[in-house]
């Protein structure tokens, strides 16, 4: 078996046997290179109760290169682009092949709790996060409600 398929099967097995709190993921039916994942909004954050869907797309270079991860659910967050793309260092220039799918999903989950408004992908969200937290939370809550319907 090619190494990335073997590795993806191991990632999946580990995610099933030892699932981190608040995240889940699995390959799509026909294609092990494309996964669907869900991240539950962390407690004590405006994202609480949200069920946010993501797609994780691997290339044949995984795990030497990171997969492309996008929110499929609508998101309002300083580090998430309008198209769902995520601005997170470990998914770009600080990727390490020792990260697996569990590590990726839990890192994204922490990003929800701790946005980095200094490297914004959504400048509006970053500005509100810094200057008008109430309005920020209002918009995030709208995404949480939207996530129930999606």
């Amino acid at each position: 078996m090619e190494s990335q398929n073997r590795r993806l099967m191991r990632d999946f097995k580990r995610l099933q046997e030892d699932p981190p709190t608040g995240v889940s993921g699995a390959p799509t039916d026909n294609n092990i290179m494309i996964w669907n994942a869900v991240i539950f909004g962390p407690h004590d954050t405006p994202f609480e109760d949200g069920t946010f869907k993501l797609t994780v797309e691997f290339t044949e270079e995984y795990p030497n290169k990171p997969p492309t991860v996008r929110f499929a659910s609508k998101m309002f967050h300083p580090n998430v682009y309008a198209d769902g793309g995520i601005c997170l260092d470990i998914l770009q220039n600080r990727w390490s092949p020792t990260y697996d799918v569990s590590a990726i999903l839990t890192s994204i989950q922490s990003l929800l709790s701790d946005p980095n408004p200094n490297s914004p992908a959504n400048s509006m969200a970053a500005q509100l996060y810094k200057e008008n937290r109430r309005e920020y939370e209002k918009r995030v809550k709208a995404c949480v409600e939207q996530s129930f319907i999606d």
């Binding site: 220039n93 600080r94 020792t98 509006m124 509100l128």
Partner: protein, 270 residues
């Protein structure tokens, strides 16, 4: 007009939001561009090339007296050159290939023992067992090829041009270097620029693939595996010879590498 009914505050928020909707995902654009450059390189240069005569270097520097002089000097000490792909992994890949090749002549079993044990040290340092084992298994598979009688130079070139093996060897060597830096963090901290801890440096500059190597990577890897490396530096400097640096300093060289600004290849002594 509808706009008149919106409070000024709200209007500016809405405007900002719609601009965001059009905000281009810069990361994707940059990724696409670097992918195109990488493809150009990977289509034209093998991960590890065939052995070439050292004098091929001369043709590369026609009309350049400084470099020509240094090529002549190299040719007095080395017979051959083997190029590697300039993808940011060239040091680790060159090191890995030259190391395994050198094991034909040297004590294979003692190295295999060091390689086997290296995993335990990394686990002690807190590397994730699940992913570490994957890389270690693949690395050992390549190391063990050397002990098989049917393995020859062509086998090694083939394996090192198969990304499934070649990149896993690079990753594992990167992890070993990272482990060494972390284990002797107090010492290595002195050589790290900027306000970074050794751990951060490892996460940012050592473990990720395609990150270029510096002296500190070479010292860490050669120390961890107890393998001497001589690097010959070919640059615009005044000297008429390609100056040699040995890592670790007191260790006789087991492998020889050629450094030209930004890139490492493998050298074969006469």
């Amino acid at each position: 007009m509808a706009d008149d009914n919106i409070e000024p505050d709200q209007a500016s928020f809405d405007k900002g939001y719609s601009e965001d909707a059009n905000q281009v995902n810069q990361d994707d654009l940059i990724l696409q561009q670097s992918k195109n450059i990488e493809k150009e390189i990977s289509d034209s240069i093998m991960l590890v090339g065939d052995k070439e005569d050292i004098m091929v270097l001369e043709q590369q520097y026609i009309g350049d007296e400084v470099y020509k002089g240094k090529v002549k000097d190299l040719a007095r000490k080395y017979s051959n050159l083997r190029r590697t792909r300039p993808d940011g992994n060239c040091f680790f890949r060159s090191f890995g290939f030259a190391l395994l090749e050198s094991l034909y002549h040297l004590e294979f079993n003692s190295f295999r023992l060091i390689a086997e044990k290296s995993k335990d040290k990394l686990l002690e340092l807190g590397f994730q067992k699940f992913t570490l084992e994957d890389f270690h298994d693949q690395f050992m598979e390549v190391v063990n090829l050397i002990s098989k009688p049917e393995t020859n130079e062509d086998t090694l070139v083939e394996v090192f041009n198969n990304k499934d093996y070649s990149d896993y060897v690079v990753v594992y060597l990167r992890l070993i270097a990272s482990g060494q830096l972390q284990q002797d963090a107090d010492f290595y901290q002195n050589f790290i620029e900027g306000n970074r801890t050794v751990f951060e440096f490892c996460r940012q500059e050592v473990e990720p693939m395609f990150k270029e190597s510096d002296h500190i990577h070479i010292i860490a890897l050669s120390t961890a595996l107890d393998v001497g490396v001589r690097v010959r530096y070919m640059d615009r400097g005044d000297s008429t010879e390609a100056i040699a640096h040995d890592f670790p300093e007191d260790k006789p060289p087991q492998i020889h590498l050629l450094y030209r600004p930004g890139h490492y290849d493998i050298l074969y002594p006469l």
